[in-house]
């Protein structure tokens, strides 16, 4: 029987059992909307992980000298070829910078603390890392020649120092001997987590290099517009800078990378679970729906319609409901994602999330292939849940069916 005719029959039959189909539709809609929202939330969390790792001075890619990761001192620095720039198309490149990053001891009048002191070019830095978005009390560093120091707010509190005061920094120079110098505190930055504020201090890269007695850097960090471009950029960098390691954020921040991967599995699991929860009610309803129409099917078969055509009609009806529920469910899910697009404020439930170094806003991130996954799963469920009972119903002989 032609598909179009079956579809038309199916469509009209949907309206026969309005109440029941409406309930089916609602259940499917709720499940689908839930799946969409959950996938968006988990993806949001997942991409936050990635962004945090990248923001956290990692960048999408980093160039390091071999051995630096195990022993992060200036002795493991490298010289950058003059006029070097990463061979990445401007459309893909957000920015890049060179840094000198070494462990140091910061001594105030009252206290002593260990930090990681980073010599930076402030303008380049702002474009590619979290420094671009922090609030600063006092001054930001003026340029790569600024010899002052920028401290985290929490660190300054622990050191009992403030903007404009002097502190002493002790670190190991390129020759292996300790260097000591006084720095004036330019400003205090307020980052997303106190862990960062306690860990990092910043100063202009050139005077820092002078202090250390070298013109080497310890790292080059590259920020891309789309992480997907990473492997290309990686290849280019390796070509230009032989002898150095090129690492992506996944290698540098393996915990974040692990959580990133877990998210994919988590989403799939939740989809299956939610749709299973839906399945029980769906199957129940569809079985009842089909059994009710045994007489009708008997009549159709007596008239000469083939078994397969009846089954096809029933399946088409179910698929139509599923598609309707899917469409509206996705729309509702999208609406919810849009509603929460400013971010869900997590601090209400877990006060002090800042201490964990996590953002306290979860911004949902919808990916279309997740939506497609939900759609396929739902349609598959509808197909299976309706085909089986329909097949059972048409196996009865027409006369028996009519007599019921």
């Amino acid at each position: 029987m032609p598909l179009l005719l079956l579809s038309r029959l199916g469509w009209r039959n949907l309206w026969r059992y309005r109440r029941r189909n409406l309930m089916l539709f609602t259940a499917i809609m709720v499940a689908v909307a839930g799946c969409v929202l959950i996938s968006a939330l988990i993806r949001g969390y997942q991409y936050d992980m990635m962004d945090d790792a990248i923001d956290n001075l990692t960048g999408n890619l980093k160039v390091l000298a071999p051995g630096y990761r195990a022993d992060p001192s200036i002795a493991r620095g490298f010289r950058v070829p003059p006029a070097f720039a990463p061979d990445v198309p401007p459309a893909e490149l957000v920015g890049w910078t060179e840094r000198v990053r070494v462990p140091a001891v910061v001594i105030s009048e009252r206290e002593t603390r260990g930090v990681t002191l980073i010599g930076i070019d402030p303008a380049e830095e702002r474009a590619i890392s979290f420094l671009g978005s922090v609030a600063i009390r006092g001054d930001a560093l003026a340029g790569p020649d600024d010899g002052r120091i920028l401290l985290g707010r929490e660190l300054a509190r622990q050191l009992d120092t403030d903007v404009g005061r002097r502190i002493v920094v002790m670190t190991q120079g390129a020759d292996g001997r300790n260097r000591e110098a006084g720095f004036r505190v330019a400003g205090l930055y307020d980052a997303a987590g106190t862990a960062i504020e306690k860990a990092y201090a910043f100063t202009g890269i050139r005077p820092f290099q002078a202090l250390l007695g070298t013109d080497a850097v310890t790292e080059i960090s590259v920020r891309l517009r789309d992480d997907e471009f990473g492997p290309h950029a990686d290849a280019e960098l390796r070509k230009d800078l032989s002898g150095l390691e090129v690492l992506d954020w996944r290698t540098l921040e393996p915990q974040a990378a692990a959580m990133f991967q877990l998210a994919d599995a988590a989403i799939l699991i939740w989809f299956v679970v939610l749709l299973l929860a839906l399945a029980f009610g769906l199957v129940n309803t569809l079985i009842t729906a089909v059994l009710e129409r045994v007489r009708e099917f008997g009549m159709l078969r007596a008239l000469g319609m083939r078994r397969g055509a009846i089954v096809a009609q029933v399946v088409i009806e179910s698929v139509l409901i599923v598609l309707a529920g899917l469409a509206v469910g996705i729309a509702v899910g999208l609406a919810l994602v849009a509603y929460f697009s400013a971010g869900i404020d997590l601090s209400r439930w877990a006060a002090g999330i800042e201490l964990a170094g996590m953002r306290n806003k979860l911004v949902p991130h919808l990916m279309w292939h997740d939506v497609a996954a939900v759609g396929s799963l739902a349609v598959a469920l509808g197909l299976f849940a309706s085909a089986y009972p329909a097949w059972r119903a048409v196996r009865i002989e027409p006369l028996d069916a009519l007599r019921r």
Partner: protein
């Protein structure tokens, strides 16, 4: 209106309202359509089993993670000077540390106690120096408190007064090996220089880079001498018999130390590892939302099915109303039917969850594949042995019972609104 003679008053009827009557009919009604009933029970069982098992595994995993994390360094409970948490400086110490430690050891639930003195100092080997947090510890006591002594990868744990134990990355950065001389230079309590000349006795590796890079342990007595601390320490670390008893132990410890000093704070791991607390709470909230969604879907399925069932039996209800049953009686019967579904479903779900968790509890969930790198960072053990969470065991079925009762109420109340005539006419 014309009045007839002797209009008699309405008859009074002694009614049987017993559950027994309605209950037995309800039970039989549940099994009228086996397939439908089993599907409904299946759905409820699925939800209950999933939520119960997931929650139990989650709680067990979290507990294991927290236990591990606290084992490493912070311990279950710490006694500190009140000012130390905000400003961890040398002078914010616990005076009469030995007495305090003894008092803590005597408190209920406490199984082990150790003192630690902490200062920031410069650590040098040869001409290489690093800033580090130096811990003066009681080597023997630490064995019962911390897992650090088990993480020695080279050499041995502290035993001699001039021993020092370094973190693996610290040792590498300093180029230090077992047997090398290490000098610690810091600022003493009186403001003078505190200097220690020690020998590297062993190297530990925790797997957490931040710790391995900054860790150095020296004997407590040596430390106190060099820094002029006398009988002072910065934290008194206590271990409790069971991780779940920590919150109960804190008041006992507070009472024990109160007579000795008034400037002490008793902090449990919740305050010491706030980022872990937040992670746990957040995970609890997000999974709570997911579970709620599952429960809702299953309840909606039950509601759906119930609506269908009620609709199909409308004529039957009309008949019951006609022969004199009250609307409320029919509602009661339907609610009982729904309750049976919930009880059977929840019962099955609990049984399945218990089996699953019981089996997993013996073999353990291997986290290695799943967590990989996260093991180290989040202090997770290799395998987790989940236990059933008692609260969830009762809470989840109860929740499903209430949810299904509510779900059945809506169709039931529609029955209540029926008039016998309307009901009898349905489908005619």
């Amino acid at each position: 209106m014309p009045s007839d003679a002797a209009l008699l008053p309405a008859p009074r009827v002694r009614r049987a309202t017993g559950i027994g009557l309605i209950g037995s009919i309800a039970w039989r009604n549940v099994w009228r359509n086996r397939q439908r009933t089993w599907l409904s029970i299946g759905g409820i069982a699925f939800a209950v089993m999933l939520i119960l098992a997931a929650r139990s595994a989650q709680i067990s995993t979290m507990a294991a993670m927290l236990d591990n994390a606290t084992r490493l360094l912070t311990g279950h409970v710490q006694v500190q000077n009140v000012a130390y948490a905000d400003e961890p400086s040398l002078r914010h110490a616990v005076t009469d540390a030995t007495a305090v430690a003894r008092a803590v050891a005597a408190a209920p639930h406490v199984t082990a106690v150790a003192q630690r003195a902490i200062a920031f100092a410069l650590v040098s080997v040869g001409d290489r120096s690093y800033g580090a947090e130096v811990f003066g510890i009681d080597a023997a006591a630490e064995r019962s408190i911390s897992s650090l002594p088990d993480m020695v990868v080279e050499g041995r744990w502290l035993s001699e007064p001039t021993d020092a134990v370094l973190g693996s990355l610290m040792a590498r950065n300093l180029g230090a090996k077992v047997g090398d001389e290490v000098v610690v230079l810091g600022s003493g309590l009186d403001g003078g220089v505190a200097a220690l000349s020690l020998t590297v006795a062993g190297i530990v590796e925790t797997g957490t880079a931040e710790l391995d890079r900054a860790l150095i342990d020296v004997p407590l007595a040596t430390f106190q001498d060099a820094f002029g601390l006398g009988d002072r320490a910065h934290v008194i670390v206590a271990r409790v018999d069971d991780f779940m008893n920590v919150d109960a132990a804190v008041p006992g410890i507070e009472r024990a130390v109160a007579p000795i000093a008034s400037d002490l704070a008793v902090l449990s791991w919740r305050k010491l590892l706030p980022e872990l607390v937040q992670t746990v709470e957040l995970k609890g909230v997000t999974s709570g939302v997911m579970f709620a969604l599952i429960a809702f879907l299953v309840t909606f399925s039950v509601f759906n099915t119930f609506m269908m069932t009620v609709f199909e039996r409308t004529r039957e209800f009309g008949m019951l109303l006609a022969i004199g049953m009250r609307g409320g009686g029919i509602v009661g019967m339907l609610q009982i039917e729904a309750a049976w579904l919930a009880l059977l479903g929840a019962g099955l779900g609990v049984a399945l969850a218990t089996l699953l968790i019981g089996w997993l509890g013996r073999t353990g969930i291997p986290l290695g594949e799943v967590a990989g790198e996260m093991l180290r960072r989040y202090h997770m053990p290799d395998r987790v042995y989940p236990r059933i969470d008692a609260v969830a065991l009762f809470g989840v079925p109860l929740l499903m019972l209430c949810a299904t009762q509510l779900a059945a109420l809506i169709p039931s109340l529609r029955v209540r609104a029926l008039t016998p005539v309307a009901a009898l006419r349905v489908g005619a």
